[in-house]
Amino acid sequence: MTQFLQTAVGGLSIGTVYALVALGFSIVFRTMGLVNFGHGDILMVGAFLTATFFTSWHLPFPVAIVLAVMVAAVMGFGFERILRPLERSDLNLMLIGTIGFGIALEGVAQLIWGSIGTAVPTPIANTPLHVGGVIISPYDLLVLAAATFVMAALYVFLNRTKAGIAMQAAAMDYDAATAVGINVSRCNGRAFAIGAGLAAIAGGLVGPLVYVQVSMGSSIGIRGFAAAILGGFGNIPGAIVGGLVFGLIEEFAQGSSYGAYTDVITFVAFTLVIMIRPTGLLGEQTVARP
């Protein structure tokens, strides 16, 4: 039982990171019906920015993350603005644009930070805690708490603020939202900015857990994407559930006798779930486009 709980704690920790990545994918998809394939690379930039602010500029870790989120949000907003002319013509072109954007980001990151990457020290004293025989890393708890706070804040924004409700309306019915005077393009820009911000938070938080380097976005990004689909693409609670479930599957696979086949087990389990529930665990949500 202790071993089960120990593995579950590890799964929840990495799962919250996947949930944040999945949220970023989902918020753009539900608003625009677009998969932002550059999302993983925004995470990578967020991780590098946090690492730079924290280790080179010696700013406190929370300040480093907030700054990274601001830069990423501006980047996301600007990217949506570049893609906006394509919105009404061909969504596939926008999708290819996001792939190109991701590749460009990798190139720029390599120019700025080099190809070797950097290790980020754990920002808090990480003496393990022993709770009922289960060993818990304080940094894992920090990640869990920060991710929970961000998810709660996102929920409040989407459901309790005018801008958030406008985004929800635009996601539900494009034409109706336009008819009642909602600026849908602005909503799309906000969705991109929020998605990029979420990616930057995930990147910043995951930095001390992994090694920050240019190609990290693809490996974490693909897991976040899978988590979003697992929970139900475009579904906000689904993204959280998908991320946590994906993290748990991965951790239990690694802790089994078949740890060498973790990726195979995880993605086979993912495929089986999707075969049984093609719209994900909580159902897909996306905008009905004209």
Binding site: T2, Q3, Q6, T7, G10, G11, S13, I14, Q110, S115, I116, G117, T118, A119, P121, T122, N126, P128, H130, I135, S137, Y139, D140, L209, V210, Y211, Q213, V214, S215, S219, E250, E251, F252, A253, Q254, G255, G259, A260, Y261, T262, D263
Partner: protein, 401 residues
């Protein structure tokens, strides 16, 4: 597939390297001492084309960088001493295999249909194994930084290791940790790429030979960054020693995560633990006491390493470590073979000459066997509280073959 050729920064580095070669040539008499002919009338200049294939992006980009730095420093030395090397000019072209064996095999095809005399690479064993059939068929010698015993098992006459393989690294570790220190509660954490699998096999053989069984034996994928699932099983087994068989960054992450789970076991590892990336990734406090097996323990070991370190620092602005020294030795071995051929070579004659080379370099004495194994010994060191490698007083100074 992406090919990176020398850019402005590379040219600047080459210029720096060339300048530093003067310093090196004054101080490193032994660097090429076994091969220097008397300076006579120079033969016509000939270009020796080297394809440097390695991981220059991704998690293992550090390995590609070290290979690049070590080889270019050696090339700068060779090029600045035309009379000592039959006026052979080394030209290095860099290719990025991204740490991916498919990309590496494609690059090997590209190189095989080009005008290259030697492939230096890859920095990863898996990629080396992917390239070997292509290069061997094209009669292009290959000097690799890979350390997997699987490379030697191919029996390929065209491949040469610039270091010892896993079996030698791990035999040195086992002799010290199990025979001298008497540790017996050993857990193993390895990945399942070619290098990790080789480390796993070699260490398990050492344990079995001593009648020991690992308290826990976990294998993860080489891309795993979160290893808490496997490490929590290891924590449950409460080992005194944790053997790692994975590349630099992954090793560092494993140690960082192990300590966060309360695993206090002494870390036991080969070449990856002898690098600054390992210390940086894990955090200094987590790696103090790590027992390392390496053929290159210090930049201040002797006059040769001191001169090498000074030239390296001048050229690249960083202190060298094991992999840079390995790469330098590998290129100097090629230069020694070219000298034996008096600057006239083909693929087969160069490979044959390299099998006859006897070279004492920064990492030890090289004498190649038919499989491409040249270096036959490593040494033991421990990481101290400053992150430096120190030779423990009770360690064997240099085990004989």
């Amino acid at each position: 597939m992406r090919t990176i050729r020398f850019g402005h920064r590379s040219r600047r580095r080459r210029a720096l390297a060339a300048g530093s070669a003067v310093v090196l040539s004054l101080a490193v008499g032994t660097g090429v001492g076994t091969a220097q002919p008397k300076a006579t009338k120079l033969p016509p200049a000939k270009t020796f084309n080297v394809a440097l294939i390695g991981s220059d992006s991704g998690t293992n980009a550090d390995l590609g960088t070290w290979d690049y730095q070590g080889t270019t420093l050696a090339a700068a030395y060779i090029n600045s001493h035309p009379s000592a090397f039959h006026n052979v000019h080394i030209k290095i072209t860099k290719f990025d295999d991204q740490g991916d064996p498919t990309t590496a095999a494609n690059l090997a095809q590209e190189v095989a249909s080009g005008h290259y005399d030697l492939v230096y690479g890859s920095s990863l064993s898996t990629d080396t194994l992917a390239m070997m059939p292509v290069l061997s068929a094209a009669h292009i010698p290959e000097v690799t930084s890979g350390q997997s015993n699987a490379i030697l098992a191919q029996g390929d006459g065209y491949v040469f290791l610039n270091s010892a393989p896993s079996s030698i690294y791990d035999a040195t570790l086992a002799k010290y940790a199990f025979d001298k220190l008497g540790d017996s509660r050993v857990a193993m954490l390895t990945n399942n790429d070619s290098y990790g699998a080789s480390e796993h096999t070699a260490m398990l053989a050492n344990l079995t030979a001593r009648g020991l069984t690992p308290t826990d034996d976990e294998v993860v994928v080489p891309t795993a960054t979160d290893m808490t699932g496997a490490l929590s099983l290891i924590a449950k087994a409460n080992p005194k020693v944790l053997f790692l068989g994975m590349e630099e960054v992954q090793s560092g992450l494993a140690v960082k995560q192990a300590r966060a789970l309360g695993i206090k076991a002494v870390i036991l590892e080969g070449a990856p633990a002898a690098t600054p990336i390992y210390v940086q990734t894990a955090g200094l406090s987590n790696v103090v006491g790590t027992i390392v097996s390496s053929p290159y323990l210090s930049n201040t070991l002797n006059a040769q390493t001191k001169a090498f370190a000074a030239a390296y620092m001048k050229a690249f602005g960083v202190a060298p470590e094991l992999h840079g020294a390995k790469a330098y030795d590998g290129m100097m071995i090629v230069a020694t073979a070219l000298n034996m051929l008096k600057g006239k070579w083909t693929g087969p004659t160069l490979a044959a000459a390299m099998h006859r080379v006897k070279y004492t370099g920064l990492t030890g004495k090289f004498v190649f066997d038919s499989r491409g194994l040249g270096l036959h010994a490593t040494q033991i060191a421990v990481i101290n509280n400053k992150g430096a490698l120190v030779i423990p007083k009770n360690a064997v100074s240099r085990p004989s073959k």
